[in-house]
Symmetry: C2
Subunit: 204 residues, 2 copies
């Protein structure tokens, strides 16, 4: 299986961490976003959304969207389980993963596209007020997470799941490239971040 | 099982349609968003995100997020299958569902929160430029869907899935409440919309 990847991009990283946790080997194919290789007609056949990651199976079929790719990997190699083991846990992990995606990741994305690095490319009509609002929302969500980690070891309860991979990838991207590192007073959030970052898979 | 609902809200509607397709009976509990009942301390215990829908099980445990609730219902009543039957289809349906959510639904949401109805409530600091951008993105995505429906009967191939429920709910909300009805020239999109709207579940 091939994974279309671009070093530093947070969504492919999620899949690489997930695969590493499962000890699944993926052949990485560099899709150079700086050269707009994700927008070529050939690539749009693999993913009409023109985004990475894309997983290409050995028979040529393609799967786009990081969580969909991870679910495929979970289906073909169920252990270690990262999506939930019974109907309630399956739903709970998905719920927590979606809280992170819909309430944090989307806000980080808004700050990113309206921030200086994307601005320097001159390809996007930026809205400064949108960045001000999303920066604020990101910091509010960090505080919520800190409260939640006072009583929860991981994002979705007492064990490591895909929701932790989603959150770690979001925070690392926000800290390194969007100037949205969590306030150092958020000790519970940092306790969790240190724990998940110490797993070998996090080196992806 | 109780579903915390608010008539007209698009996300609870997705769950109600999904449950109707499965012939699962849910006790509807009105959570009056106009009175901010979704932000009370009591409700935040059910869903820390302060949003509906929430499914409350008979033992009191709660699941938030529409897709997570639907996945729970799929787990406890697998037929008719709406999420995919094998590893590839499971991933493909999720991929398509996420394309609709992340590229259309989020844009409709931006147009909604920056539009006149929310504006009249005076509870949100609106950004007119953000609405202009999202209105444009919604219409571009409608055109993409129209192209895709020229060769695909449903959102995720040749059968009805959760991705159709997501898209129908998004378009109906956008048409009725956000003034973003698809251009009538998009005949393939309207062909699909007529078909999914004619299912009895769509009356939810």
């Amino acid at each position: 299986m091939k994974l279309y990847d671009y070093p530093g991009a947070p969504n492919p990283r999620r899949v690489k961490i997930f695969a590493a946790e499962k000890n699944i080997n993926l052949e990485l194919v560099n899709c150079d976003m700086s050269k707009r290789e994700h927008k070529t007609p050939e690539f749009l056949k693999k993913n009409p959304s023109g985004k990475i990651p894309v997983l290409e199976l050995d028979d040529g079929r393609c799967i786009s969207e990081s969580v969909a790719i991870c679910r495929y990997l979970e289906s073909i190699k169920p252990e270690p389980n990262l999506f939930g083991k019974d109907p309630f846990e399956l739903a709970f992990v998905e719920s927590r993963n979606r809280h992170i995606e819909l309430e944090l990741w989307t806000q980080i994305g808004t700050s990113w596209v309206n921030g200086p690095i994307v601005g320097s490319l001159g390809i996007f009509n930026q809205i400064p007020d949108a960045k001000l609002a999303s920066d604020k929302n990101v910091n509010l969500f960090y505080k919520r997470l800190d409260r939640e980690f006072s009583s929860s070891k991981f994002v979705a309860g007492d064990r490591y799941t895909i929701a932790d991979i989603t959150l770690m990838s979001a925070i690392d991207f926000a800290s390194d490239l969007v100037d949205l590192k969590p306030d150092e007073k958020l000790h519970n959030l940092y306790r969790w971040h240190l724990e998940v970052s110490s797993r070998p898979s996090a080196n992806n």
